[in-house]
């Protein structure tokens, strides 16, 4: 171990320590301050935002780091959510058919539902199904070098088709209403305050762990390769790597995160339905990431929490106003601060630092162009 005095002079280490301190501060805020200070229903609301933050983290990874603008994260969120909700439904029904199936005249439990009687299978499916879908789609699309706007449009079409399918298969999916009315979440009453509190802590912990894992991934060799693919896919190919693999793996990871987020969303909010998953909700997640700052994972998380909070607050006051505000905010962010809040903060910090020490060279701008 080196003496702390000398080590602290290294700016890299200082930045790292600052990062840890910030993470610890946010963790303290989420795990200690918020549960003590917030009334139960606000805490439940925050848990919902944290679910979105987990999905946003995946978008930050795929889009911010990998340049893949995925407009279909709602699909993966939904796959995870439905997998979880199917287990709850079957558990509640206790051998009978789930209530909505009876209403839509289904007589026998569909084969698709059979495996979800087991909680282990359901929880595994929460991650495995979205990952598998994303891996297949990613492999097909990226192998053929379909990228950029094409990829964005395809994922959006996937979201549109997914929702239409969910709505159309009433007997299998609960149709427009989705799956709701759960009476038993792993032996607890989902409406009870203690359950909601526990769910909040579970969600916050999952977010924290995934955030650290994602950071580690970004800092790893793979993460550098991912950024390289974003900034110059062909160059990476000429250097002997296969960009398709890098992109597919990342896309699958981000889908897995969205699936996990959806699965946590179900006990937290008590419903999963097509209206939460379509083109617009998927885009709203991307908006949140863009506003927070797409090139930083923390920006994605911050954006998801702040934007969803703003949406709730604003919609309560003036529903139409939220759309104006969201649209206007988005236009402003894209034109004036494409790197979002985190980018803005860094710009201000750089400007201040430069004024303080005029002789210091201007920090090199990192290349953050888009692979068109």
């Amino acid at each position: 171990m080196t003496a702390p005095g000398t080590a602290l002079r290294s700016p890299a280490l200082r930045a790292r320590l600052r990062g840890y301190a910030l993470f610890a501060a946010v963790a303290l805020l989420l795990l200690v301050v918020a549960p003590l200070a917030l009334p139960a229903f606000r805490l439940d609301e925050l848990a919902k935002y944290l679910c979105f933050a987990i999905a946003a983290l995946g978008i930050g990874l795929a889009w911010g780091q990998g340049g893949m603008l995925t407009l279909g994260q709602g699909v993966f969120f939904g796959l995870g959510g439905y997998a979880m909700a199917m287990y709850f439904k079957l558990h509640d029904a206790d051998g009978d058919l789930p209530d909505f199936m009876v209403w839509s005249g289904v007589e026998k439990l569909p084969a698709l539902w059979k495996p979800f009687e087991s909680p282990v299978v359901a929880i595994a499916a929460v991650v495995a199904v979205p990952v598998a879908v994303a891996a297949v789609l990613g492999a097909l699309v990226f192998r053929q070098r379909v990228r950029g706007a094409y990829f964005a449009i395809l994922t959006q079409a996937l979201a549109a088709a997914f929702v239409i399918l969910l709505v159309g298969r009433q007997g299998l999916t609960g149709g427009t209403n989705g799956l709701t009315n759960f009476y038993d979440v792993f032996g607890r009453d989902p409406e009870a305050e203690s359950t909601q509190r526990t769910m909040y802590f579970v969600t916050a912990a999952v977010l924290g762990v995934l955030y650290l894992a994602a950071r580690q991934l970004v800092k790893s060799r793979f993460g550098r390769l991912l950024v390289a693919v974003r900034d110059g896919e062909d160059r990476v190919r000429f250097l002997g790597y296969n960009p398709a693999t890098v992109k597919t793996v990342t896309f699958a990871i981000s889908a897995g995160m969205a699936g996990l987020a959806g699965a946590l969303f179900v006990p937290v909010v008590g419903i999963i339905s097509p209206s939460l998953l379509g083109v617009v909700p998927s885009l709203e997640l991307v908006v949140a990431v863009a506003v927070g700052g797409r090139y930083a994972l923390a920006g994605a998380v911050l954006g998801a929490v702040v934007m969803n909070y703003a949406k709730t607050e604003f919609s309560e006051q003036w529903a139409g106003g939220w759309l104006y505000l969201q649209g206007a905010l988005f236009i402003l962010v894209m034109t004036l601060a494409p790197k979002g809040a985190v980018g803005l903060y860094e710009q201000v910090k750089d400007a201040v630092a430069r004024r303080r020490t005029p002789e210091r060279p201007v920090p090199a701008q990192s290349v953050q162009g888009e692979a068109a």
Binding site: Q144, I153, D234, V279, V287, Y324, F330, M334
Partner: protein, 292 residues
């Protein structure tokens, strides 16, 4: 067998709607690399133009609205290009998000101006009725939309291949830098392209009033399918767009016929993904040696 043939006119008419909706996109997306999510709201603007003109033109509003809607939607597009999009060239993904913000604002504006419920445009008398085609009944309105689609494609084709501004447009599409050094004012061509592309959305909006009501969210129903047509047809390719629109229309109608409406969209999506395995850049590709 009869019912199989029945699907042909249905498929063709879906294809005609898709084509009208996607035609403008092939230019704004194809030539300028702008993924204009607000295209759907320009369609909406066209529909509302027809609705507004009803007071003045009565039941002939649809005919009167065609040129007016072209101008209104075109002007909206031109303003959008001038104010925002021109700062975004070369960043297609950012234009997608930017124009989505615009589309949210326009939708809410329509809700505040015209009210949230859908409004109806009365079709002219000579468009009510239907004819028997291949054993199925085809409403005149659908026939009119097909004719309109054909007329728009013919007009665009003539414009691109026979007129000077059209030639400049093709030059910019094929090689922007070379066009610029050859003295083509690319910025002005971009403005015109955006005007025409958006104007076509307005025309599509008028056509849509013939088959259904107009509402603030009408654009969102068509925008995703329209982009799929462009992706399958190839960027900026007129014939690609025509073939892709008809093919997707047919596929839609047959998939719905054999399965149901909810599976049809999934099938269409799967077929497009499968098609991109063979032709990753769509049906027709502008050959270029440029590297991405």
């Amino acid at each position: 067998m009869d019912s199989l043939l029945n699907q042909v006119p249905i498929g063709l008419s879906i294809g005609a709607v898709l084509l009208l909706v996607a035609l403008g996109l092939t230019f704004t997306f194809g030539q300028m690399g702008v993924v204009n999510m607000a295209h759907g709201e320009f369609i909406m603007a066209g529909g509302y133009t027809a609705y507004m003109l009803q007071d003045w033109a009565g039941s002939q509003a649809v005919l009167a609205a065609l040129p007016v809607a072209f101008a209104v939607a075109g002007a909206l597009g031109w303003v959008l290009e001038r104010l925002a999009i021109r700062h975004f060239y070369g960043r297609p993904l950012d234009t997608l998000l930017l124009t989505w913000g615009v589309s949210l604002v326009l939708q809410q504006a329509a809700r505040d101006l015209f009210g949230a419920p859908n409004v109806q445009v009365v079709a002219p008398g000579w468009l009510t009725g239907r004819i028997e085609v291949l054993g199925g009944a085809l409403p005149y309105a659908r026939l009119f939309i097909m004719a309109l689609a054909v007329a728009c494609v013919a007009g665009i084709w003539l414009y691109l291949s026979r007129s000077r501004p059209g030639r400049r447009m093709r030059a910019v599409m094929q090689n922007r830098q070379l066009a610029e050094v050859s003295g083509v004012a690319t910025a002005r061509v971009d403005q015109l392209t955006f005007f025409i592309g958006s104007g076509l959305a307005g025309v599509a909006g008028v056509a849509l009033t013939l088959i259904g009501p107009v509402g603030p969210s009408i654009g969102t129903y068509y925008i995703v399918d329209a982009f799929l047509v462009v992706v399958a047809g190839g960027l900026g390719q007129l014939r690609g767009a025509v073939i892709a629109a008809v093919a997707l229309g047919m596929l839609n109608s047959y998939a719905e016929f054999w399965t149901d409406a909810s599976l049809a969209k999934v099938i269409v999506f799967a077929v497009v993904i499968g098609f991109l395995q063979v032709r990753p850049q769509g049906m027709f590709v502008l050959r270029s040696r440029a590297l991405t």
